[in-house]
Subunit: 207 residues, 2 copies
């Protein structure tokens, strides 16, 4: 870990500014649809139809488990999500979207997508490069223990990093991976991280 360069600091600042803006945009969108921000985020996460436990959602969204439980109760009340018992684990609850929830999630995705739509000033290659750099940073944060859930190619067991002559490769699909092909949230992700440890959220702030 070397000393951060001015470029690093600017990248951090730009990422932060962009993240805040997207959060604000998502907040407004949620409000328009009579949802809280967390409720919208849950819909977005569930949109891939992957079955999840409540605890999984909490770690993905960086909030506590009761907070997710709260928001889910509201979503259920609105008829957007369902809770059903886990098939094999009697303690757990499986979360899924209702058709209405799916529709709302898709609508939200449609409304959010234009915020980062391509235009003529940025080449697709540059955007693909950006994707790889961002995924690299996400992988670093996972290593640093800030993120515990991450299903991108860069941390997948099936991922073969590029060598001097050969491009990156996915052993599962048995195909070369260009920057364009990198996935942020791959359904087939196989973790390389040994264990995930409980985030260890510290005490609350105070006045």
């Amino acid at each position: 870990m070397t000393e951060p360069t001015p470029l690093d600091r600017k990248l951090l600042a730009a990422t932060e500014r962009l993240g805040r803006a997207l959060r604000a945009a998502r907040q407004q969108l949620a409000t328009r649809h009579r949802l809280s921000l967390l409720q919208l985020q849950i819909l977005e996460q569930l949109a891939d139809q992957r079955p999840r436990r409540i605890g999984d959602l909490a770690t993905e969204l960086d909030v506590s488990q009761p907070t997710v439980s709260d928001a889910l109760a509201t979503l259920q009340q609105k008829g957007l999500a369902t809770r059903s018992p886990h098939p094999s684990d009697g303690r757990a609850t499986t979360i899924a979207l209702t058709p209405a929830g799916t529709a709302l999630a898709e609508l939200a995705a449609t409304e959010l997508a234009p915020l980062l739509a391509s235009d003529e000033t940025t080449s697709a290659d540059d955007r693909a490069t950006t994707l790889r750099v961002l995924l690299t940073e996400i992988a670093r944060l996972q290593h640093a223990g800030v993120i515990t859930v991450n299903r991108s190619c860069l941390t997948c067991h099936h991922y073969q990093p590029p060598r001097t002559r050969t491009p990156a490769h996915c052993h599962l699909l048995d195909q070369p991976l260009t920057n364009h092909d990198l996935r942020v949230d791959c359904p087939e992700h196989a973790s390389t991280a040994p264990t995930r440890f409980p985030a260890g959220r510290p005490a609350r702030p105070q006045r």
Copy 2:
């Protein structure tokens, strides 16, 4: 505005994931220092010593003015920030950091910087490309009305975009600008946006 490509969607997802992670990291850092997240963000914004009004801070941070007023009162109570009357406008209040506040802001910046420090897997050129792409997205969001404060080179009156043969140029410094040189928050920024309109925050969410 064209239809979003898969790459666009992945970029949005990656940016969102990274933004959430950075927010969580900043939240933890704030808690460690007995601050709320908003209080920490205010310290970070004030760290450049640019004099600000309270309303300016609110639009920069995408929260309402009373919320900033609240957090500032706490910071003042902690001896980290000061409020003083504006020299020329009797209605306004000028905000500044105390030496203790400056020290804490620098400490926080030092602790956050390693999260995006360079490593050997990403070239500086790719990171510079990423910086430009991110700034382009920020500029787009400003155009879309999501962001109202933005002092990056790409929206500056002194900025000359690159042509086919000549690189980008800053008319104020009278120097060429590579991707590395782009600034996120330039003190000399001259706005090109005609007017800034009040964000029009909609009604609150509800159960």
